[in-house]
Amino acid sequence: MFKSLKVRYIIILIVCAGSAYLFYPPKEKINFGLDLKGGMHLVLEVKTDKVIRAEVQQYGERIKRLLEENKTAYTQVLAEDTKITLSGVPEAQSEATRKNLKDFFGHYFDVSSKYEGGAVSFTLDLTAAAVRDLEQTTVQSSRDTLERRIDAYGVAEPTLQLFGSTESGTSNQIIVELPGVENPEEVKTLLKETASLSLNLVHPTAPYAASLDAISQFFGGQIPADHAAVLYTGDYSGEAREQEKRYIVVQKAPVITGKHLTNARASQDSSLGLSRPAVSFTLNSEGARLFGDATEANQGRQLAIILDDKAISAPRIEAKITDSGIITGIDSARESQLLALSLRSGALPADIVILEERTVGPSLGLESIRQGVNAGLLGLALIVLFMVFYYRLSGLNAILCLIINVVILLGVMGYFRATLTLPGIAGIILTIGMAVDSNVLIFERIREELRWGKTVAAAVDAGFARASWTIFDANVTTLISAAFLYQFGTGPIRGFAVTLTFGLLANLFAAIFASRTIFNTLLQQVQIKKLSI
């Protein structure tokens, strides 16, 4: 193959020039990993189970409505985890009920039934496909929300990637990589904030109470079903904030929610003569209509602003408000900026938990690069010395191949925009050590063939022919372990697996093709009689 030296040199030249072009300028082409340029790596878990339970609860309510519409008698509808049990349906109505349940809920639930004391009870099990479906939607929309928040926060080149798996096989983890983050704690807060906002009317007479018991007492034992007590963290009409926990009672059905917002921005509230941080928002047309109606009808009443299950303030409605409003009860200007940002990018559909955090400062990264480069240069120098000392001019041949090997490796990395991590640098250094291995295998074989009395040309031929397979085998085994490394690792370790793989592939070209070409030149053009090896 490629007998002509000219063709061989052209190929080598094209490969090297192409690699150099792909790699140049290195600053633009090489993408440093977070461990080298500094940044934050987070593994987040989306708590999908809670979302699924809430969804099943809602289906329970829908079943109740369906039964009531059809005037079906029943004793109980119980929604637990991923299962809904409907009990006490009279036998006469059971066939119609079964059909209804199957028609309306069959796409999400497996419906089964059994006799129980003269009546029929039904069990609806959320199917595995439905669980997967819900999980996927939740994770995907969480990812989208996080992406919007990160973009709005202003991180250059963030990456978000789904990862891990639940029992049903969906990815429920999100890997977030944020280069050059200056305030890691702030970013973590931003990512974890659910930012579910709702505005609910406050019960007109119920008191602010220190405990839930006090509230039930006020209502004579039971809070009305359409109301709920929530933790109140805001001020008391301008009074100093109290440290102890307080509750207020609000209507369960919100007037508007975060879904009705079209925009939110940090602003100031100067209503009490003080200038305090706030967030102003604007509403879409549906929100404006709902908000307008509610504020018109309930003037003088308080409206609680509920953020992530806590009422952060409860201002009094003084006039009809339609398409915009202001959220008060925020501690700092920075907090109002972050809240506005979260509201603009929408609420997270589920809670987010941080499973892993790795933050590297830029100075450590810089130090790592320096150390890696030093180690590589020393290794290279020692290897060059040994090769030239031990194999003389043939050693130079090996060094040339080594350079070609590294150039190709860098070119391939540039082409794929592969990320160079600290272990990746280790991979390049290791490649330097392993690259010459191939040359050694070939040279040793050539020496052996020469010892057995072969001519130089025959010895070189045999050396390459015999050693090539060994080199191939050796590289394949290393590639196998690199594949497992890639599978096993994340971030930095994958960077290592990648450089190792590209380095080995480049090695096949350099050690077998390029090195051979140089030997052929010596044999055919210079017509040497003795080989310096």
């Binding site: 200056e182 000392f389 280790a426 085998d473 372990s481 497992f484 190792l500």
Partner: protein, 402 residues
């Protein structure tokens, strides 16, 4: 030059020597594993938090430990790397659940605690110059209007230009800080940087103090991730061994695959034991080192096996024992040189590559030595005895057991 000329050693007769050498290494390492009650795993596997900080002064480890215990909890506080770098790592192990606030905010809490110990005398109105980011610094400088006052920015400069000029100034300072390893010891010394004139210095002094420490890195791993990783690490090493067995069995014979993988397994367990003996932790990067070792260490074995296969065809009269000895002798020079060259590069990496890669390069430094030894002392003898005891009639005909 040649290091090995006409080597003629009867390797196969030294099996007892090899067996005892391997046993000694194995027992020495694993005795330490047992004595220590198992391996010492890094937070990658146990879960926990590791914070690395750099201090301006020589650290008072006991003081840090006591203060941290009061504010955050029991922490393992040790120095690492070269003494003059004043580097300290703080490690807190075992977090009960991810949901606990302590895990979520540990980085912040540790910073606050350290701040309370190390920079407690700093004025409260000022910020830490060793912690401020580019954006915040640029905003403070811009608010001071220092460049306008100096006449370096004209009154009619556009907002974009003003922003850019102040940002450049902030970048100069932060880049310098990065160059200095994250710590600016003295604000006055920034005067030597381009564009940092006396008025700028005084703005910096008004708003900032040079904090006496900087956080280099924070790693927090929840127990769930740790468990997953433990699982994955074990599987990755086992599957890669299996992959080698399959590949060598395909390219050679099954018995050779067994010999090669036994040698690899030998390398891995001896290296694991020695890691424990020398007090090294098992971390993610160490597992990566082991996987690399598995892929590399088999190369020498393949070189020998290749030669055995060749010699069997060439010397039909020789016994299998003779062929093995001959093959090892013929290939010993390349085995030693190839391993030696790779050893040089990982040794340099171990020497100069820094703290983060220490575990990785160390596994390869000891692994390559053991791997080279085992490709001679374990792989071939094992293949020999496997075929001798379990080989089929046909195999026994090919490999002559005289």
């Amino acid at each position: 030059m040649e290091l090995f000329k006409n080597v003629n050693v009867d390797w196969m007769s030294k099996k007892w020597l090899f067996l005892s050498a391997s046993l000694i290494l194995l027992v020495a390492g694993w005795a330490s594993v047992i004595q220590r009650g198992g391996f010492s795993y890094s937070i990658d596997f146990t879960g926990g938090t590791l914070v690395k900080i750099k201090l301006a002064q020589k650290p008072d480890l006991d003081g840090l430990r006591t203060a941290l215990r009061q504010s955050v909890g029991a922490a393992d506080v040790t120095r690492f790397d070269a003494e003059e770098k004043n580097l300290v790592q703080i490690r807190m192990k075992k977090i009960e659940t991810e949901e606990t606030a302590s895990f979520q905010n540990l980085g912040q809490n540790i910073y606050s605690a350290l701040h309370g110990i190390l920079d407690k005398d700093q004025p409260t109105g000022k910020q830490d110059l060793n912690r401020v980011g580019i954006d915040q610094l640029a905003a403070v400088l811009r608010a001071s209007r220092v460049l306008e006052n100096m006449g370096r920015l004209t009154a009619n400069a556009t907002i974009e230009e003003t922003q850019r000029v102040y940002r450049d100034l902030a970048v100069t300072i932060v880049d310098h800080r990065t160059e200095q390893g994250g710590l600016i010891a003295d604000i006055d010394r920034l005067g030597s940087l381009p564009g940092i004139s006396n008025p700028v210095l005084s703005v910096l002094r008004q708003n900032y103090y040079p904090g006496s420490f900087t956080v280099l890195s924070v790693d927090s791993v929840g127990p769930k991730i740790g468990k997953e990783l433990q699982d994955k690490a074990g599987k990755a090493v086992l599957f890669s061994l299996l992959g080698m067995l399959v590949y060598v069995a395909l390219r050679f014979k099954f018995a050779f695959g067994v010999g090669a993988v036994a040698a690899l397994f030998h390398d891995v367990i001896i290296a694991l034991g020695l890691m424990s003996l020398l007090g090294k932790e098992i971390s993610l990067i160490v597992v990566a080192g082991f996987l690399t070792l598995v892929g590399y260490s088999i190369n020498d074995t393949i070189v020998v096996f290749d030669r055995i296969r060749e010699n069997i065809k060439l010397n039909r009269a020789d016994t299998f024992l003779t062929i093995i000895n001959k093959s090892i002798n013929q290939t010993i020079s390349r085995t030693v040189i190839t391993s030696g060259l790779t050893f040089i590069s990982v040794f340099c990496l171990w020497l100069l590559g820094g703290e983060t890669l220490d575990g990785f390069s160390f596994v390869l430094v000891i692994g390559i030595i053991i791997g080279t030894y085992s490709s001679i002392a374990v792989a071939s003898p094992l293949t020999y005895y496997w075929l001798k005891l379990l080989g089929t009639k046909k195999e026994k005909k090919v490999y002559k057991f005289a």
